[in-house]
Amino acid sequence: MSYIIEIENLTKDYEVGFWKKKKVRALDGLNLRVESGQIFGFLGGNGAGKTTTIKILMSLIFPTAGSAKILGKDISDTKIHSRIGYCPENPYFYDYLKASELMNYFGELFGFDSATRKRKTAELLTKVGLDEKDWNKQLRKFSKGMLQRVGLAQSLINDPEIVFLDEPMSGLDPIGRREIRELIAGLREKGVTVFMSTHILSDIEALCDNVAILNKGKLSATGNLNDLLQQSGERQSFEINVKGVTAEALKNEISQIPGASINSKANGANIQVLEETDIDKVLQIVREKGGTLVSIQPVKQSLEELFVAKTN
């Protein structure tokens, strides 16, 4: 199998202190492989080594030991940067430039002609939801959320095959987060690999196929998100919201389904089942009692527990 990212024994020590230098290990022998075409979640607490890993992959810092390849090429080869995108954590750009000028400048660095730069600027700033009236505003007047959107737009200017997003939801309001989530999901549909570090577990649940969890610079778990959850002894459940019927009226029939539970809510009920096949049974009971379906959603309630278990 070919991997788009291959990390071998990656280690990074930082020297701290002024007179008496002391080494602090930020990353400790990381081994990781990421397949192409997926959204890969990179999890870990503060100081776990996520940003250090991404910075090494971007050649912003140099590893103390180990090696890494992106798209089959060693990370020291900056030519691969023409095929990758990167949005740093809390992105900060030249604040004397306007959003459109920044996009144009970055387009120049990729060697695009003027017409292409103009087209891509309009296309991407629209895609990340930046209001057209803000395109010609200097970045020093931008809010954190607006800068985050510009950061995402610039990371896609070269139509990358893989994009590295360091805390992409940081600073965004709930609507912004939903829009960016949709944008990231859209990248996967176009075959772009997304390597995303985030603290927001609901984003990982909603988007990621595979994840890696870092703890104090070491890899503590990696693999398919569902497999990891199952291995940790927890199971995925499904939440069914219905209206037009009370929990009291459904209680007896629902209790016949193994593992199912029901709670009352305004104008309806909330039912949880463990198996996907039980969804039909629930819907049949609800219809018989005169109720209608509002929503069905998978719930991986154990990701938080898995995260806590792997980082403690």
């Binding site: 004397y96 660095l109 990729f110 075959g191």
Partner: protein, 267 residues
């Protein structure tokens, strides 16, 4: 996907883009506002000096104008020069830049040339200002003699900029500015430094000052302001020698900067 990525990214285009962006930064950060002060100074000289300097106004304008050009330029070279790279690191703008297909060497060269372009515009506008003032007070007889000196001033400023960038690649902006200022002062008195090395009794001191003399740029090669005020133009050999000296010295300084900068971690 990626058809457009096949566009050849040429090094010269990358350097040009970085240089022009650096120039734009200087303009938007109001670096060229010093020209307003300069123009006011020269205008005041042209209008008021006539009463004070009986027939010497052109000489005074040349002396004052070119010296101000050198001092203003040195301030820009040192203070903008030391912040060129350090500001990018401190504000973390380098993160997005180095994720693009550009080398650290191209970045340094682009930033350096961008500031040189700013200085060039600065000395050109100032040169025009001094020429207009001379034309106003004496019909322009000295105008022809100042432009060779202006070229020398610009070359001196390119060296000072390279010195400032070199220091800022490994030390703090404040310390870099201080060191670059020392180089500017010592470099302009390097002939005295050589005399000092020759006349000192101790051989250790002779070697020490000798090393400093040869290590630091000899900015006296670019000093011609007093001569220009006496209606002299720098000889072609001096201009050619100064040009070569500046090119070689700048290449060495920028290469050293690239070498240091290429090993830096951007935490």
């Amino acid at each position: 996907m990626n058809q457009e990525n096949s566009v050849r990214i040429s090094i010269s285009n990358t350097i040009r883009s970085i240089a022009l962006n650096t120039f734009r930064e200087a303009v938007r950060d109001r670096v060229l506002y010093n020209l307003v002060v300069f123009v006011l100074l020269i205008t005041a000289c042209a209008i008021f000096l006539g009463d004070l300097t009986a027939g010497q106004e052109p000489r005074v304008i040349v002396n004052l104008g070119l010296s101000a050009m050198l001092i203003f330029g040195a301030f820009i070279s040192i203070f903008v020069g030391v912040s060129l790279v350090s500001k990018e690191i401190e504000k973390r703008t380098v993160f997005a830049i180095f994720a693009k297909p550009i080398g650290r060497g191209e970045f340094i060269v682009g930033k350096y040339l961008g500031l040189c372009l700013t200085l060039l515009i600065n000395v050109l506008v100032m040169g025009i200002g001094v020429s207009l003032a001379l034309w106003y007070v004496e019909g322009g007889a000295l105008v022809g003699s100042i432009w060779g000196t202006i070229v020398l001033i610009f070359l001196q400023l390119t060296i000072l900029t390279a010195v400032a960038i070199l220091f800022s690649s490994f030390s703090s902006p404040a310390l870099s500015a201080l060191l670059a200022f020392f180089v500017f002062v010592i470099g302009n008195f390097s002939a005295s430094l050589k005399d000092l090395a020759t006349h000192l009794g101790s051989s250790g001191a002779k070697i020490f000052f000798g090393i400093i003399y040869y290590l630091l740029p000899n900015l006296a090669h670019f000093s011609f302001i007093t001569n220009a005020a006496n209606n002299e133009t720098p000889p072609a050999a001096m201009l050619g020698g100064a040009f070569l000296y500046a090119v070689v010295y700048n290449i060495i300084l920028i290469s050293l900067t690239v070498l240091i900068f290429s090993r830096r971690n951007f935490k």
